[in-house]
Amino acid sequence: MPMNAMGTISLGFIRSPRADFLWFVALPPIALLIAFFFHNTLPYVAQASVAVWVTAPHHYAGWVRGYGLDEDWTRWKNRLILGPIILIPSIVLGTAMVPVTLGIVFLLWDHQHSLMQQYGFARIYDFKAGTDAAFTKRFDFILSVLLYGNMLITAPLWAELWIAELHRWGLALDVEAIRQIQAMSWMILGAFAVIYVGHVIAGAVRGDRFNPMKYLFLLSSYGLWYFVSWQDSFLLYIVAHRIMHGVQYILMVYWYVERKADRTGKTPLLLSNLSLSRFLLLGGAYAIVFHLVTGGNLSHFSFGLINSLQMDPILNFSLEKATGFYAATAVSAASACHYYLDSYIWKIRDPQIQEGL
C-alpha cells in the first residue's frame, strides 16, 4: 500500500502551537535550568519554596475544577465529599502510627500520579489530533509504565531508595542480583520499544495518523525525568519535576475551565470574571494561606533568602534578625510602592482622573 508521508501526520495541539511548544516541549528543559540554578546557588531549604509557590497552587487548580465547577461538582459530588472524609483521617492515623508506610505509599502514589499526568496529556494530544487509533491508548499506557518503571529500577537516584528499603525489609539483594534486575528492566523496555515501533509502522501501513506533538511532549517529559534521575542531587529532581508537573497542570486546568466557560457560560466559584492572572493570583493567595495555616515557616516563602542572610560573613545575622530583616524589607517595599503609586495616580488636572472624582 503506498504511504503518503503527509497523510500519516496529523498535528493537534492542546492550546495552540506556540503555547504547546512553550509549556509542553520547552518547559522541561527550562525547569532543568531553574533546578540547576537552585542546585548551584540556593540552600536546600529553597526547594520548599517551590512546594509553596508551585505545588500548592497546583492543588488549588484541582480544587477549582473539582469543587468550583458546577458540572464537576454535580457529577462527582459523592467522591468529592467522601474522598477527604476517608483520606484525611487515614493520613492522620498513618502519620501517628505508621510513618514509614505513609512515606512509601506517598512516594509510590506520587510516582503513579506523575506518570499518569503525562500519559493523560499524551492522550489529549491524540484526542485533539484525531489520532486515537485502535490499541494506541493501551500501547501508550504500557510504554509510559515501562519507561517510568525502568527509570525507578535503573536510575541511581531511585535505586538507592529501593535498595535501602529492601534492606529494611530483610530482603537485601547482593550487587549481582541488583545488576541482573536492572539489566532485565532495560531489556524489557528495549523489547517493548521494538514492539511499539512495530505498532506505529503497522498503523502507518493501515493508514492511521500520528501526532508528532505527542512524541515531542513525551520525549521532553521523560528526558527531564531520566536526566535528573541520573544526577546525584535530589534537589534537582524535586525542583525540575515540581515545576514541570505543577505548571503544566495549572495551565491545563485553566484552559479547561476557560473552554468550558466559553461553551457553557459557566465559570468556577469566585472566578466569575475568568482571567489567567486572576486564576494565578488566587492560586498564590491559596498557597500563602495554606502554608501559614499548616504552620509553614516564613523562610519557605523566601527561597532560602532569610537563611542566606545568616550565612553572610559581613552581615552575620541571627535567624531572628534575618527574619526581621526580611519582614522589614517586605513592609518597606510595600510602602515604597504605595508612595510611588500615589505620586502618579492622583493628578487632579488629568481629565481621565477627573472622571472618577
Binding site: 537485601a172 547482593d174 545488576r179
Partner: protein, 177 residues
C-alpha cells in the same frame, strides 16, 4: 464491576498501604533509623554500605554509608566487635574524608551528612573557623532542623563519657547517625 473499576487506584493504595502498615506495626526493622544501625551497615553477607559503594562508588550516599560504617568500627573497643572483625581498620581521618567526599558531590538532601560533618570536625578538634563554617552550612540548608547544635551535642557526649568513665561505664562520644 463498574464501581471497582472506578475506584481501582484508591483501592490499590489502601490495600498496599494496609499491608505495609501491618509489617510496620509488627517488624522492628520499621524503626525510622533502622537503616543506619549496625545490622544494615555491617552485616558481613550483604550490607547497604558495601552494596551502594560497589554499585555507585562516587555518589553522596555511598560515601556517607561508608562513613557511618567506619564510625561504627572506630573508637575504643569497637574494632574488636564481631561485625568489625574482618574489615580493614579505620584509618585516621577516614570518617571525615568520607563525609567530605559525600558533601563534595553537591548533594545536599542528606541533612545528617552536614550535621555529622560538624560533629566529626569537633571530635577531631578542627579549627573553630572550620567548625563554624560547617555548622553554618548545615543551618542554612536545614534552618528548621530539630537537631541540637553540634557543639552542644559533642559537649553533652563528652560529659556523659567522662561521668561514664568515672563510674566505670565507658561510652563513646560518637553520635554519628
Amino acid at each position: 464491576m463498574g464501581w471497582l473499576r472506578a475506584q481501582k487506584v484508591i483501592l490499590l493504595v489502601y490495600i498496599g498501604g494496609l499491608t505495609l502498615a501491618a509489617f510496620e506495626l509488627n517488624l522492628a526493622q520499621f524503626e525510622p533509623d533502622y537503616l543506619i544501625k549496625s545490622e544494615s551497615l555491617l552485616n558481613p553477607e550483604t550490607n547497604i554500605a558495601d552494596v551502594s559503594s560497589e554499585l555507585y562508588p562516587d555518589r553522596a550516599y555511598s560515601f556517607y554509608y561508608r562513613a557511618l560504617q567506619a564510625s561504627m568500627c572506630s573508637g575504643p573497643g569497637r574494632e574488636a566487635q564481631p561485625e568489625c572483625q574482618g574489615r580493614d581498620p579505620v584509618k585516621p581521618h577516614e570518617i571525615r574524608e568520607l563525609i567530605e567526599h559525600s558533601l563534595a558531590t553537591g548533594n545536599r538532601s542528606n541533612e545528617m551528612a552536614m550535621y555529622n560533618y560538624a560533629i566529626v570536625l569537633l571530635q577531631e578538634n578542627a579549627t573553630p573557623e572550620l567548625v563554624d563554617a560547617a555548622i553554618a552550612v548545615w543551618r542554612v540548608n536545614y534552618p528548621q532542623s530539630k537537631n541540637l547544635d553540634p557543639r552542644e551535642m559533642v559537649r553533652e557526649a563528652r560529659q556523659t563519657s567522662a561521668s561514664g568513665n568515672r563510674t566505670g561505664r565507658g561510652e563513646s562520644e560518637h553520635r554519628t547517625r
